[in-house]
């Protein structure tokens, strides 16, 4: 009896928690959408309205002019393409290099494992702005084209991340798997990609998604490396170049519309992969 009651209370708290978290995480995005559907006059009216309303009559009034303006912006539309190419390449490279490295660091015995881990992490321990000048010098010296230079420089933060996360996952896999494969006559490398790698799919999807989004949203490097080659500009740079008709005027509604547009493909991506995120679990097996 008591058990049943406490279970019900537990259920209520569980759902309440979900609702609170959900509001906190989603409300700002809702506000972004509402803002993108307002004209400037609706934006600056007081008090702010939760649904776009006319400043005078207070009737609901929605405008799509911000979206129109965004899609007429060539730099932005091309930016989505560029961002997709760059982020995809970065993610693939980071996952391939990262899983190689992580397997070595997590499952193989050799000297300098800890040192290698720290060395790799140290790539990402400076603020971006302070490595930018040196990086720009390297890129100019090797005359690397804009998109390639973004792909390479984003490895600065995606590679350490994938390696560290994947290493922790490889380490969790029992050593017996590797030994069994060795006994069966497989080389260590075969054991890696035929036995161990498939087991880390959820981890790969997770790190891949996080790395993809990090690359998608990078701004400072992209601004500098694409400044001359404007055809290579990525979405965040294109958005920074949004401006009003007149200097100093900030087209806030358009920026919000653009951010809704760039977020949607990422959400579709997450939806496609979300089942894989929890692949290792038997559904419902974990009881709270």
């Amino acid at each position: 009896m008591i058990n049943k009651k406490s279970k019900l209370a537990g259920q209520i708290i569980f759902w309440l928690l979900i609702v609170v978290m959900f509001i906190y995480l989603v409300f700002p995005f809702y506000w972004t959408i509402v803002t993108s559907l307002k004209t400037e006059n609706q934006l600056i009216m007081t008090p702010a309205t939760f649904i776009p309303r006319d400043p005078v009559t207070k009737d609901i009034s929605i405008t799509f002019q911000n979206y129109g303006a965004v899609f007429r912006n060539d730099t932005f539309v091309r930016g989505i393409m560029n961002s997709a190419i760059v982020s995809f390449s970065v993610t693939v490279l980071a996952l391939v290099f990262g899983s190689f490295g992580a397997f070595a660091l997590g499952k193989l015995r050799f000297r300098g494992r800890t040192f290698s881990l720290y060395l790799i992490l140290s790539m990402t321990m400076f603020p971006q702005i302070s490595v930018l000048t040196g990086l720009y010098a390297v890129i100019r010296a090797l005359s690397i084209p804009a998109r390639t230079s973004m792909i390479l420089s984003y490895m600065l933060f995606t590679l350490p991340f994938t390696i560290w996360v994947m290493t922790s996952f490889f380490k969790k896999l029992p050593d017996s798997l590797l030994q069994a494969a060795n006994v069966d006559g497989a080389t260590s490398f075969q054991a890696f990609y035929m036995v161990l790698l498939p087991l880390t799919v959820p981890a790969m999807v997770t790190t891949g998604l996080l790395a993809f989004i990090a690359a998608w949203n990078e701004y400072l490097f992209a601004l500098t490396f694409t400044s001359i080659q404007s055809s290579a500009r990525t979405v965040p740079v294109a958005m920074a170049l949004f401006s009003g008709e007149i200097a100093r005027q900030e087209p806030f509604g358009e920026i919000m519309a653009a951010s809704v547009i760039v977020t949607l493909p990422l959400l579709v991506l997450v939806y496609i992969f979300q089942k894989r995120l929890v692949e290792g679990l038997t559904a419902g097996a974990v009881k709270g």
Binding site: E40, N41, R147, F189, L223, L241, E245, A247
Partner: protein, 431 residues
Amino acid sequence: MRTTKVLALCLVLLLAGTFSITAGGQQEAEEAGPITLTVAAGAVGQELVLAKEAATAYMSMNPDVEVIVLETPDLTTDRLGLYLQYFEAQSGVVDIYQIDVIWPGDIAEHLVDLNQYGAASVAADHFPAIIENNTVDGKLVAMPWFTDAGLLYYRADLMEKYGFSEPPATWDDLEMIAEKVQAGERAAGNQDFWGFVWQGNSYEGLTCDALEWVVSMGGGNIVEPDGEITINNPKAAKALDMAAGWVGTISPEGVTGFGEEDARNMFQAGNAMFMRNWPYAYSLGNAPDSAISGKFDVVPLPAGDSGRGAAALGGWQLAASKYSENVEEAVDLLMYMTSYEEQKRRAIVGSYNPTIKGLYSDAEVLEATPFFGSLYDVFVNAAARPSTVTAPNYAEASKIFFSNAHDVLTGKQSGAVAVRNMALDIEDLIK
């Protein structure tokens, strides 16, 4: 051995993949005419269109030159950051830079002395304050393109409603009117109404606003053109204390986080009596769907104890890069873009304030933008920020000034302490 091969293959494939994806864009950027000139200009809608039209016009006159207009971020620090990366690399990819009025001193060493290319003869036509600002160690490093100055916007309809006939001539008048209108409008039901909005955030904009208060009070120009640091004086302290007194009374508490757009948003929504802002807010406020369209006007900023008002000088210049491969052609284009005809076109089409004195009495210009005539005095007398005399440390000097002023506005220190701190810090910096 097989492992090695697999690995090598992966690497080669991936690298080849990325290079082939990215190779396409590169070629198109390198395609060039006989001479290519690149102009780094703003990304702002109309400004960009005007710049591109100028480029097209120039190309039709000079068929052997191709002009590329490059968009750069509207955010000033981002733009400066980008320029500095080019200068650090001594790169000639950009031939002409659009630069802020406070930059010439700081980046002069990368710019061409335009006097050597015959600019001296034209320079006299421009406002002397800007030419002086752009002259570093006797070298004219940038040509004025368009100018900007702080103005006082006021609600003419509310002036009438509350029985005031003249816009405020002094800060005292402004405080008095603002208080009365604010109280009246709030009693009438608009609880969001405030008397006076301006730029109080801790950024370069506050340097402009605070410099206007200090100069109008007779407190000097922070650092005088001869290098003397004059900010530590009671008049300057009084000016800052005066502004601190507005916060929470006639200006919202949040004004210490306001930039230009925050102030305009409030004024344009009909929630402020007065606003200090740049000329750009004029045409936006008069747009057909604006709540205050036709209900407001602009005048020079009020006078303080000195008996005169002061407006901070803003605006943008064009400069030619020393690292350009075609300096002569670049200067020619630059001189064209800042010429009488070009500035006239920009004034008529986009109400960009010309820097050439003669244009303020040009009939066609005055017809298009009537308020230019009455504000001629404001533009010609605008107070330049001490950027050239403190170069190459202006950014830090300005930061010392605005962050101490901000501390006065937020009540962390008194005006007297602030001006002393400013003087000491600026002395450490430039001595």
